[in-house]
Symmetry: C2
Subunit: 473 residues, 2 copies
């Protein structure tokens, strides 16, 4: 389907002016000494932690990045392409809490495993993502091992790298080497994609930079993502925020391309706004929708894969707001042809909560939009002239031959959406969407079948995790 592009050439030229001025006149801070040294060695102007850039050098570095790349999954059927025309979807990332029904509580490793199982169970989702929820009942030092192990064994889809420390990154890379048959294999076709957030405005912090370095040197793509809540981390006007976003993303990408020229990389965007009265973050806003449409176009102008969007919302529960805000970002996610979509399923409460019922709602929304954004086939046969002849005037097409041939798959078949009439709906318990979603996820977990895994690979993973835990805990 065509992309919906809303920026004129003049607007793009204005943005170019904007980001070039930011990187060259204000500069960007890098809190890791190795990054400062590397940028100085490459001719950029260093003042303490701050680096003032030559915009043309940035563009030269950025041009080294591939416009698309593949990611391998444990099951090759689940390999994906990031970039170009493809869209790839992962679960929510980062919430410390979980909601099921009306209970909100600390997330546990059991929840983490459950979300892995759900992600495995829905074909529409390409990955559980990374930190689908924080397993708060596990040791802080070693939970990255448990999470990677769960994602690697409960799903056979690709998963994300951990970015809490450089050592965590090394551990997860080592686990990928076990899964994919050694360093060479993941250097040839990367297996981990990792989220590197900017400490916006205009600062890359050391933890993020150090994790970035580990992944980039191992040839694993990172998603270089300015973290922009307009009004707090960026100005309240969208053009100013977009200019800042380009400045932050491109400097991170230029650094990565200097570390490892040609390494796969993604132009990331996490752009919403705060409520100017309360100061609290808002998601699924019209402004975030506009930002998303613009950013897709901007990333393409640099020939880079693009990450953004997802099912973002500020709602506390799986109600109407959670759904209309999710659509307010998911629809532009599709319209802007987003290549890597984090937070596709499960996001609630501004990203503080992974919600089981929301996960199910989001899968329904995702599948519906996949249908909506599939190009139609137009030809003389699809006109079904014979059906019109058969049915004639004032009749109905229910029993027409054309209908009979196609009724099974002519329309998207929802699994959550209900179109029962009122009497039937009442008779079946008057269940709203949240109640139905609850039944669905419980059943889905009961029916879950663990994907096969090579026993030797599993043993190696077990041993690696046990060894590292004994060193860490």
């Amino acid at each position: 389907m065509p992309r919906y592009e809303i920026l004129s050439e003049e607007s793009m030229a204005t943005l170019t002016l904007g980001w070039k001025r930011i990187v060259s006149e204000i500069g960007i801070e890098f809190m890791s000494p190795w990054a400062i040294d590397l940028l100085r060695e490459n001719g950029q102007t260093v003042e303490g932690d701050n680096v003032k850039f030559d915009p043309e050098w940035i563009l030269k570095q950025v041009a080294k990045a591939p416009s698309q790349f593949n990611l391998q999954a444990r099951n090759p059927k689940n390999n994906v392409q990031i970039g170009g025309d493809s869209m790839v979807f992962g679960g929510v990332y980062g919430p410390p809490f979980v909601r099921e029904g009306d209970v909100r509580r600390d997330a546990t490793f059991k929840d983490y495993e459950n979300f892995c199982k759900l992600a495995q169970s829905y074909d529409a989702l390409d990955s559980v993502g990374g930190v689908v929820c924080e397993p708060n009942d596990l040791s802080l030092d070693s939970r990255h091992l448990d999470m990677a192990y769960a994602a690697a064994t409960l799903t056979d889809k690709f998963f994300m790298g951990n970015v809490v420390t450089a050592q965590n990154a090394k551990d997860v890379i080592a686990m990928s080497e076990i899964i994919f048959g050694g360093r060479k294999s993941i250097e040839n076709t990367p297996a981990l994609i990792s989220l590197i957030n900017c400490n916006s405005p205009l600062r890359w912090d050391d933890r993020m930079l150090d994790s970035l370095r580990e992944y980039v040197l191992a040839g694993q793509p990172v998603v270089v993502t300015p973290f922009l809540l307009m009004g707090a981390m960026s100005p309240v006007t969208i053009p100013a925020t977009l200019a800042q976003q380009i400045a932050e993303a491109l400097t991170g990408i230029a650094l990565a391309q200097t570390l490892n020229p040609g390494c796969p990389i993604v132009f990331g965007s996490f752009l919403s706004n705060i409520d100017m009265q309360s100061g609290s973050p808002q998601f699924g806003t019209p402004e975030s929708g506009i930002g998303l449409l613009c950013t897709g176009q901007i990333a393409r102008s640099f020939n880079l894969p693009f990450r953004g969007g997802g099912g973002l919302n500020s709602s506390q529960t799986v109600d109407a707001q959670s759904a209309y805000q999710t659509m307010m970002t998911m629809m532009p996610t599709f319209l802007s042809g987003t290549n890597w979509v984090m937070h596709t399923a499960g996001w609630l409460e501004g990203g503080l909560v992974s919600c089981y019922e929301k996960f199910v709602v989001d899968i329904e929304i995702l599948q519906s939009l996949m249908t909506e954004f599939t190009p139609l086939e137009f030809n003389v046969e699809s006109l079904a002239f014979d059906a019109h002849v058969e049915v004639g005037h004032g009749g109905h097409f229910l029993g027409a031959a054309h209908t009979m041939e196609r009724f099974r798959d002519c329309f998207y078949r929802p699994f959550l959406t209900n179109s029962d009439n009122y009497e039937r709906w009442m008779r079946l318990g008057a269940k709203d969407t949240k109640a139905r979603a609850s039944e669905i996820y419980i059943k889905k977990l009961e029916e879950y079948v663990q994907p096969e895994i090579d026993p030797r690979m599993k043993q190696e993973l077990d041993e690696f995790v046990a060894k590292r835990k004994s060193q860490l805990d």
Copy 2:
């Protein structure tokens, strides 16, 4: 904002083939003898009730219709333009039932009046529409008078004509003449827009045709609308349905242009699909979204104003489904640049229910999308370079001068959407969207102020309604 157009030239050519074949080889039924006579006199081939058309004659007639026109409202500030770049929004149309909270019941005239008051209270809505709900407690013969009287006096926005009988149409036209100072005034600038549905497939029934004639001869625009639930009233493939839609709409429009050449008219679309397992209608489906995007493009290709979309959904209650399905049609409604949007607010349960809470949700969605689809201003000032200089690295923009100047209106300010943190939300009663919407509409009705009305005009309307009621009841 640009339109999102998804049909290629080849697809459009295929559709042209399709509708031309339907009108010329199968023909369209017209159940009013006057229509048959008129079409025969104008050279079309009549066989009983069926008319086989020369497609070129249809195109010649259709070309007489204006591409846009104005509608006058009782308060000139509420006048609107239908067509071109403008989008005009009206409330739900037709439901026999009402839902408030968890109660679903027969709609009454009190409800009708309440929805008029709500429509008047929200600036985003241009009109209450027409039958915002059926006042089942009023006499069937004369309720059109009560509805038009309520819409004309409780709001000062334009409203829709009644189409149940030709006599009803005459009555509402007569009331408009009172309001706008005579026949000449409404002939110069129309005041009523009316919904004429096709009895799809391929049949125009007599009641609809007779109402169409009244309005068209009075120079009042009608919305010529094929009523298409794919699988029942049209084939299960979208191209076939689109070809049928064009055939039905254009034949109705050609008839109107033959009755009164140059009269204002709208290419209408009501296109969704049934659930192929239960046979029940579904709304807010991906297929209806695609249909909407295509139809906007098709209507523009004939240089006609376009009606479609709205907040359609199949949900029984104001839950997540009601919202994601509404967005699944409202977003394409904007993307296709729909000129006249019926069913914008209040629609629930496949159009069987006018819901107070849904009305409020829909206004929030409408206002959000209006913000999202407002073109951005891009210039050097909007880049806010000084704000970046002021805040620098790692700071925040909350207190920046640029923020202070703009914080009141830099972002859309929601009135229903909640972004409180969890603790505050719990403290305030853990209200979901439905509960909050309920409080809002009750308060809105309490605060309602009836718009001023010229006492002489009101007296004339009173007398007219009383006289007609004494004749009818």
